[in-house]
Amino acid sequence: MQFRTEYSGSSFMELLQVECPQLLPNLQGDLTQLSKSLPHGTTVLAFKFVDGVFVAGDRLATAGMQVASRDIQKVFRTDSHSMMAISGAAGPCIEMARILSVELEHYEKIEGEPLNIEGKANKLSQMIRQNLPAAMQGLAVIPLFAGFDRRRKSGRLWKFDVTGGRYEETEFDSTGSGGLFARESLKQNWHSGQSRSESIVSCVRALTAAADEDRATGGVDLRRGIFPIVMCASESGIDEVSESEIESAYHEILNTRSGAGSAGSSEGGTKP
């Protein structure tokens, strides 16, 4: 790349389009057959809690009927207060999360202040729209975007469709093949004043429910030590929930289900 650039704006994507188009994803040609053999990520979810917003995703990626990866990452931190969770074709999804995080950092450095959270969600929707030709051939990118709005002092979350349609959710949402089951679980248990620890249990319960019904969703794999990725954004930034916390939340759910040890549970024995 030349040091002196023709481009003089503040968007990293536009910079690449003008100066280094070869670095941008360019999925052309007939991908319909190919897309079946490429890894796809499945269930991710997001919901608000008392201090902000939670995002979680299981770890399984599938290619057609086979397991492509058991410990893929589907939840990404895009900057100090925002996160993106991906479902759809894993390659383009992960690349989009990467470009978005550089985009947000780039804007902040060039302009001297970060984008508003709505600006970030809008930028992501433009990127999804540009991926539409590939989405038509089975390489869709359908993310969730969530973060802490420092102006409103609250968590916010958005879902998207393949055309770049951007829909803000006020409570919770989930996408991917197991999304329906995860959403159903959240619908039964979610309430607006959830604490951090309640929320971790909600995440694990919803993903476990999704893994139970949907073969392409991973859930908790104790034998291999693979746990969902759970993150939350609040005023103080992004907090990645540790595996041990997720494991104990999972055991709490198992105990509640088997009817043993439910005294310590705040979940009241509601089944996922």
């Binding site: 040091f3 002196r4 481009y7 670095l23 100090s80 990467r98 780039h106 450095k109």
Partner: protein
Amino acid sequence: MSMPYYVSPEQVQADKAEFARKGIARGKSIVALEFVGGALLMAENTTDLTKIGEIYDRVAFAGVGKFSEFDQMRKLGVRFADTTGYAYSREDVRARGLANAYSQAIGESFTREMKPLEIEVLLVEVGDDRYEGHNRNSIYRVKFDGFLSDHKGFCVIGGNVDDVQQVLEGGYQAGMPAGEAAGLARRALEAGSDGGSNLGVDDLEVCLLDRERSGRKFVRLSADQVQGILDGRAEVEPDPS
């Protein structure tokens, strides 16, 4: 039609250099120095137009002279660093490569353009102990004609370099705590300031490259935080990430 006068190349270079030096000398100075927890950059600046900026995870920029010109250079650095980091990996963005690119761009402009850039820039990189061969800090200075130099410990750019330099040479020690380093930088800037005036925290623009921070190590300090550091209180805000 009048005949163009012959002017020797030496004369052209000397005139351009003189012009650039005058432009830079009108401005205030910026100090960069290493301390135990990273590197500190301090400028006398009462305006909102910042002279110090973040380039990448471990690299900071400071410019003196004409604002529009050095800010343009800062943006070019950010574009170059972000593209390199995206194309390769974040660890591949190093100050030395950037300093070379700056040196070439500014030098080329000095030779080719009628009006040279009236700027000087500093690139400061803080070390990272996680990677072998990456653990040292480095400070690079690029002058208006593209002359590139590297500095150990501290460096000054701007108007009254000599007076500022003298204070730093007298007071600098390797491995100073943040409070002492900030105090020394302020004394140095005061020595270079008009009439040796006292500089309050509101007259200073202070940024740190915090070695302990993961990822982006650049921190811009508020007036309160600068006061806190000068008083030897809490070093820096905790890592938000």
